[in-house]
C-alpha cells in the first residue's frame, strides 16, 4: 500500500514530523502510526471531506484584489502539525512573559517613560512611530492590560528551536480559524482524537470573555461586552461574528454605538439605549473615533476616546498599543523584558538589523541577497523582500527604499523555517510553516493550546499568509504516552 508518508522525502532543514533518517520525531510518533494505517488515496479522500465540511460551514475569508473582493473558502491542509506538551509549556511561559513586559512598556511610555530615561530604548523610535498616540498620555489601565489580546508569530529554525518572529498587538486575527480547523479535524478524523491525547483548545471564547469582563474599568457586576466590527466587508468579518456568537455577546458596528453627554457608551436597541462597559474592537486605532483620530472615519464612534479616558469603558486592545508592535521596537523586546521584569527572555528573538542604525544599515545594504527585509509597519506579508529569492531588480529597488527611509526598514537573516508533511498534488511533501498562538492578559494570563499553523503551499516558499496563497493546519499539542 502506498501510505501517506512512505514516499515522503524530508527537505533541507528541520522537519517536525520525520527526521532525516525517516524516523518519526518524538512528538509525532503517534501521528505517524495513525497515518501509516491510511493509504494515500484515503488521505486524499479525507482531505476532500474536510474541504466539503469547510464549504458547508461557510468558513471563508476575503481577499482584496484589483478585480474586486472575493470571499474565498478557508484553505486547510488535513495533515496536522504536532508539538510536544512539555515543549509547549516552555513556549507558553515565554509568551506570557513577553506580553507582560510589553504591557508594562506601553503603560510606561504613556506615563513616566522610565525606559526612555534609562536609555534602554531610544526616544526617537517612539516619537517617530506612527502608532504613538499622545492622546493616551496619563492613562493607567486595570491589570496594566493594554494589549489584552496578542497573536505572536513563532517560527522554528533549522535546529528546531522556537523564535518570536513578530508580536501582533493591534487587532490580531486568525483565532476563529484555529478553532474551526480543530472542529473540521474532529469531524473528519475522529479516530485520531480517540487514539492520541490532544489538548483541547475550544475554551478560548470563554477565556476571552472572562478576560474582557476583567478589564471593565467600573465595578459593574455584570459588564456588558460587545465586539466592534468594521462590518461585513472586512476580511476578518467571519471571525468577528464567530467570536461574538461563541461568547454570546452583541456584534456591533460603529453606527450601533453612541457616546452620551455623560461620557458613557451606549448601543442603540429596539427599546432605546443600553450602556456598554467593554468593547472588543476589531477596528484599527486610526478609525475608532473620528473626534480623536481620523476625522474621515465612518466606522468609528465619535467621543469613544473621551469615554475611555473618563474611565467609563474598557477597550481591548487599548488605543495606542501599536507603539509596541513595530518591527524596529521588536529588536528591543529582550531588553524591555530585562528592564521591567528583571528576567532573561524565555523565548529568543530572531537577530534583527535596524536600518536606522548606521552600522546595521551598511551590513544590510551589503548583504541584501541573504536577508529578509521588512517594512517596519506593515502586516499581512506585504512589501517584503526575501533576498535569496529576489531578482536583482527587486534588490536594487529595496536598496533605494532603505536609503530613502531607513527608519522604515528592518532586516533579518533568512531563516530556514521548519517543515511539516503537507498534502500536495503529487503526494505528501514538506512545506514551511509558522505558528500564531494567541495570548490573553487581563486579571490573569492565558495562552491557547497550540495556535493557528499557517503553511506556505508553494514548494520552497516562505510566505504563509492566507491572502497570498498560504494554507493552514490544525495544531496538536500532544501528551506523550505515559506522561
Amino acid at each position: 500500500m502506498r501510505t501517506a508518508l512512505n514516499e515522503y522525502k524530508v527537505g533541507t532543514g528541520y522537519d517536525e514530523v520525520l527526521s532525516n533518517s525517516g524516523q518519526p520525531t518524538a512528538a509525532a510518533s503517534e501521528l505517524v502510526s495513525h497515518l501509516n494505517t491510511l493509504s494515500l488515496s484515503e488521505v486524499k479522500e479525507l482531505q476532500k471531506n474536510a474541504e466539503a465540511t469547510i464549504a458547508q460551514l461557510g468558513i471563508s475569508f476575503t481577499v482584496y484584489s484589483d478585480e474586486g473582493n472575493i470571499d474565498r473558502l478557508w484553505p486547510f491542509d488535513l495533515l496536522p502539525r504536532v508539538i510536544d506538551e512539555e515543549e509547549w509549556k516552555q513556549v507558553s511561559e515565554g509568551l506570557k512573559q513577553r506580553l507582560k513586559a510589553l504591557n508594562l512598556f506601553i503603560e510606561d511610555i504613556y506615563n513616566d517613560q522610565e525606559i526612555l530615561k534609562a536609555g534602554i530604548v531610544p526616544s526617537e523610535i517612539i516619537l517617530s512611530s506612527k502608532d504613538y498616540r499622545p492622546e493616551c498620555a496619563g492613562m493607567k489601565l486595570k491589570h496594566h492590560s493594554w494589549a489584552c489580546i496578542c497573536g505572536t508569530d513563532l517560527v522554528r529554525d533549522g535546529s528546531g528551536n522556537f523564535y518570536v518572529l513578530e508580536d501582533n498587538l493591534r487587532v490580531p486575527s486568525g483565532v476563529s480559524y484555529m478553532l474551526e480547523n480543530r472542529a473540521v479535524m474532529k469531524s473528519v478524523m475522529p479516530d485520531a482524537f480517540r487514539d492520541i491525547s490532544i489538548l483541547p483548545m475550544n475554551q478560548y471564547p470563554y477565556e476571552l470573555l472572562s478576560m474582557l469582563r476583567s478589564i471593565c474599568p467600573t465595578d459593574t457586576p455584570q459588564p456588558e461586552v460587545v465586539v466592534l466590527t468594521p462590518g461585513i466587508f472586512n476580511s476578518a468579518y467571519y471571525e468577528h461574528a464567530f467570536l461574538a456568537h461563541e461568547m454570546g455577546v452583541e456584534l456591533v458596528e460603529g453606527g450601533d454605538l453612541v457616546v452620551g453627554d455623560d461620557d458613557c457608551v451606549y448601543m442603540r436597541n429596539i427599546d432605546g439605549l443600553q450602556k456598554v462597559d467593554v468593547i472588543y474592537r476589531r477596528i484599527d486605532d486610526a478609525f475608532i473615533d473620528p473626534d480623536a483620530f481620523n476625522p474621515d472615519s465612518v466606522l468609528g464612534i465619535p467621543g469613544l476616546i473621551r469615554a475611555w479616558k473618563a474611565g467609563n469603558v474598557g477597550i481591548a486592545n487599548a488605543p495606542g498599543c501599536g507603539v509596541a508592535d513595530d518591527k524596529v521596537l521588536y529588536a528591543y523586546v529582550p531588553d524591555i523584558i530585562r528592564f521591567y521584569l528583571n528576567e532573561e527572555p524565555l523565548l529568543p528573538n530572531v537577530p534583527t538589523y535596524l536600518c536606522s542604525r548606521e552600522e546595521d544599515r551598511e551590513y544590510v545594504l551589503a548583504h541584501l541577497e541573504e536577508l529578509v527585509v521588512k517594512p517596519a509597519n506593515e502586516s499581512g506579508g506585504y512589501g517584503l523582500l526575501i533576498g535569496p529569492k529576489a531578482s536583482q531588480e527587486e534588490i536594487e529597488q529595496f536598496r533605494q527604499l532603505i536609503k530613502d527611509n531607513p527608519r522604515n526598514y528592518v532586516a533579518q537573516p533568512t531563516l530556514c523555517l521548519s517543515t511539516v508533511p503537507t498534502l500536495c498534488d503529487e503526494g505528501v511533501e514538506p512545506r514551511h510553516v509558522d505558528l500564531r498562538p494567541f495570548i490573553l492578559q487581563g486579571s490573569k494570563s492565558y495562552v491557547t493550546a497550540g495556535g493557528l499553523t499557517r503553511v506556505a503551499l508553494v514548494r520552497g516558499s516562505l510566505v504563509v499568509n492566507s491572502s497570498q496563497g498560504g494554507g493552514s493546519k490544525d495544531t496538536w499539542i500532544v501528551k506523550k504516552e505515559g506522561a
Binding site: Q56, L57, G58, L251, G255, D256, R268, N269, I270
Partner: protein, 322 residues
C-alpha cells in the same frame, strides 16, 4: 435586548426566506396550471411577472415573453433583486450579519441551499429538473423555519423573525389570490373557465401546501369564493391574511414602544373584519386585495419608524436608561 440594526436584518431575513419559498411555490404551481389548462385559456408565463410586480424590469431586460425568459427573470436572474436567487443571497447575507443572534445551524442551512442553487442554476432552464430544484428549495426553507421554531427562545430576535415572516406571508397570500382572480376574470369562453375553475383553485391551495387543511375546514366543492374566504378570513389557517394580522398584533403587543405599529395593524384587521362578499374574478376583489397590500406595506413602514430607524433623541433617551 436587541440592536435596532440586528432587528432589521432578522426581519428581512425571515421575509426573504418566506419570499424564496413562496416564489418557488408560485413557479411550481404556475407550471402545473400551464400543463393542466387548455391552450384556449388565456394564462401565460408572463402572468407570473405581473403577479410579482416585475413588469418594468422584465420589459426593460427581456424581449420575448417566453417560458424560459419569464422563469429566468423570476428565479435565476441575479440582476433582478426580486428573483429567487437574489432573495436567497440576501437571506444568506442577513444571516451572515446576524449570526450572533441565531442558532449556528441557520447559517449552515442557508449556506447549503444557496450554494446548491447557485451551482445548479442551469436546471432552471429544463422543466423536468426545474421542478426538482424548486422542491428542494421549498424543503430547505421549511427546514430553516422549522429549525428556528425548534431551537430559538421566544425572545425579541425571534419576534422580529416572526414579524418578517407574517408580513411577507400575508403579502404573498394576497398576490396568490390575485392569480386566481386573474384567471377567473377571463371574459371569453366562460364555459372553460367554469369547467377548469376547480382545477385552478385546487392547484392554488396545493401550491401553498394547504389543500388538505382546506378540505378539512370547508366541506363544499372547491370554488373561487370559498378559497378566497379561507385565505383571507379564516382565523385558524396560518396562511390566511386574518391569521397573519392577528398574530402580528399579538407580537407587536409584547414588543417595546409599539403604539404606532399596533394602530396600523388594527387598520388592516378592520379592513379584514369588514368581510365583504366578493366574486372571484371581480374587479372589486382585485381592488380589495390591493387595499390589503397597502395596509401591509403601511405596517412595514411603521416597523421602520418604531424599531429599525427611530429618531433617537440621543440625550433624553440616555437619561431614561441611566
Amino acid at each position: 435586548m436587541l440592536l435596532s440594526r440586528v432587528a432589521e436584518r432578522l426581519y428581512w431575513l425571515a421575509r426573504y426566506i418566506e419570499r424564496v419559498e413562496n416564489t418557488a411555490r408560485l413557479s411550481k404551481i404556475h407550471s402545473q396550471l400551464m400543463f393542466d389548462l387548455p391552450k384556449s385559456v388565456k394564462l401565460n408565463w408572463y402572468t407570473l411577472v405581473e403577479i410579482t410586480s416585475n413588469e418594468d424590469y422584465f420589459d426593460e431586460h427581456y424581449d420575448a415573453r417566453t417560458e424560459k425568459n419569464c422563469m429566468w427573470m423570476l428565479l435565476g436572474d441575479r440582476n433582478n433583486s426580486a428573483s429567487l436567487i437574489s432573495s436567497l443571497w440576501w437571506a444568506r447575507e442577513n444571516i451572515r450579519t446576524t449570526r450572533d443572534s441565531l442558532p449556528r445551524e441557520a447559517w449552515v442551512y442557508i449556506n447549503e441551499i444557496y450554494l446548491y442553487v447557485k451551482d445548479n442554476l442551469d436546471d432552471l432552464q429544463v422543466r423536468s429538473r426545474r421542478n426538482a430544484l424548486l422542491e428542494k428549495v421549498i424543503r430547505a426553507c421549511q427546514a430553516i423555519s422549522g429549525m428556528l421554531m425548534g431551537t430559538m427562545s421566544d425572545n425579541a430576535a425571534f419576534r422580529f423573525l416572526m414579524m418578517g415572516q407574517l408580513i411577507e406571508r400575508a403579502d404573498m397570500t394576497s398576490r396568490i389570490l390575485d392569480v386566481g382572480g386573474y384567471f377567473a376574470a377571463q371574459e371569453y369562453n366562460p364555459e372553460e373557465v367554469e369547467q377548469y375553475g376547480s382545477i385552478l383553485w385546487a392547484n392554488i391551495l396545493k401550491s401553498i401546501g394547504i389543500y388538505f387543511m382546506y378540505r378539512q375546514a370547508v366541506q363544499i366543492e372547491i370554488n373561487g369564493n370559498s378559497v378566497i374566504e379561507f385565505l383571507v378570513y379564516d382565523d385558524k389557517q396560518f396562511r390566511s391574511i386574518k391569521y397573519c394580522a392577528d398574530k402580528m398584533h399579538e407580537l407587536a403587543n409584547i414588543l417595546p414602544n409599539s403604539r404606532e405599529v399596533l394602530k396600523v395593524i388594527r387598520q388592516l384587521q378592520d379592513l379584514i373584519d369588514q368581510t365583504p362578499e366578493m366574486e372571484a374574478g371581480s374587479t372589486s376583489l382585485h381592488d380589495y386585495l390591493d387595499a390589503l397590500q397597502l395596509e401591509i406595506s403601511a405596517i412595514h413602514n411603521a416597523c421602520y419608524r418604531t424599531w429599525f430607524y427611530p429618531e433617537v433623541e440621543a440625550v433624553s433617551g440616555m437619561q431614561s436608561v441611566q
